[in-house]
Subunit: 184 residues, 2 copies
């Protein structure tokens, strides 16, 4: 990706606020293009991966509790990048940990920022086909349940709000486009 | 949306960390389904709206600098909900402020969480058609530039990384599906 700098905001000072296990928070004091100053509240995140696992005419999804939403959600398998880990390796690792499936047919779909207004989190999204069944082994503080759903079920889950996160809705759109155009 | 509580994590204590102009941060100490405890770093956000503005065979997008990414990005018009504001009203307001366009033909596409692992931000996404040209009037600390792009240009922007945020990639997929199926 080429970095475009139109309307650049110059950092005058960075105020560290919090350093947690997963995210950190800082407030940047910036100079705007008109010379005025402003503050920007910025969450730093290590980045993440997500996988669209396709098994015959179904997609493998995982249900887990999302504390920020105070409800459980059905999502495609995903997880944070470990330090120094390549996104593709992370995607294969998360797929196997969360679902038990492995694949040698994995393709990059896109990489996207989830909340560019206040966070630098990027998700690298892959599609995995020709899945090989193994055994799931989630992290010790990770409680989740796998399910294989059809495209029609996925669309119904979106209408019901059981699927309601950006990456999974994007995955369902990408899967439908793949069906219609043969391209992903 | 029905709230599902599978694998619920019970809040033992909430530690407030930061309260900013836009986001706030807290650490929740939780009890997991197995009785163990853990911490969850949670960003609270007021929620946002985004609009897919379709004008003939083009979509109106805005380029702006995204400080968390340290680059400018091309995105669909979007913005935070004001206190007490209805999402549809916010969508019409942001569309007009950022692009100058108004519309009486606006439809809800979906509402999604951007980063359910660490944030409660929800974006309500609309499509706006039959646009009426007025005058843009962005907020005083908002510097942006509008452009009308074709579907093919949008897809090229994704490949180039000029479009690389979840809501805009989702918007391009939804627009392509709309072209192919007549439904959005």
């Amino acid at each position: 990706m080429t970095a475009h700098k139109k309307f650049e905001e110059i950092t005058l000072r960075t105020e560290p606020i919090f350093k947690g296990k997963i995210i950190s928070l800082q407030v940047d004091h910036v100079q705007l293009p008109n010379g005025e100053t402003a503050t920007r509240e910025i969450v730093k995140h290590p980045g993440a991966v997500a996988v669209i696992p396709l098994l015959d005419d179904k997609m493998i999804v995982v249900e887990q509790y999302r504390k920020p939403l105070e409800k459980s959600q059905v999502e495609i398998p995903a997880g944070k990048l470990d330090a120094g880990e390549e996104p593709l390796q992370a995607a294969l690792r998360e797929l196997e940990e969360e679902t038990g499936y492995r694949s040698e047919h994995v393709k990059h779909v896109s990489s996207f920022y989830t909340s560019p207004g206040f966070a630098d989190e990027i998700i690298h999204l892959y599609v995995a086909e020709q899945l090989i069944k193994g055994e799931a082994r989630p992290d010790e503080d990770e409680f989740l349940e796998c399910e294989a759903i059809t495209l029609e079920e996925a669309q119904q889950y979106i209408r019901d709000g059981r699927i309601s996160d950006a990456k999974t809705i994007m995955a369902v759109y990408a899967w439908q486009l793949y069906r219609l155009t043969g391209q992903i």
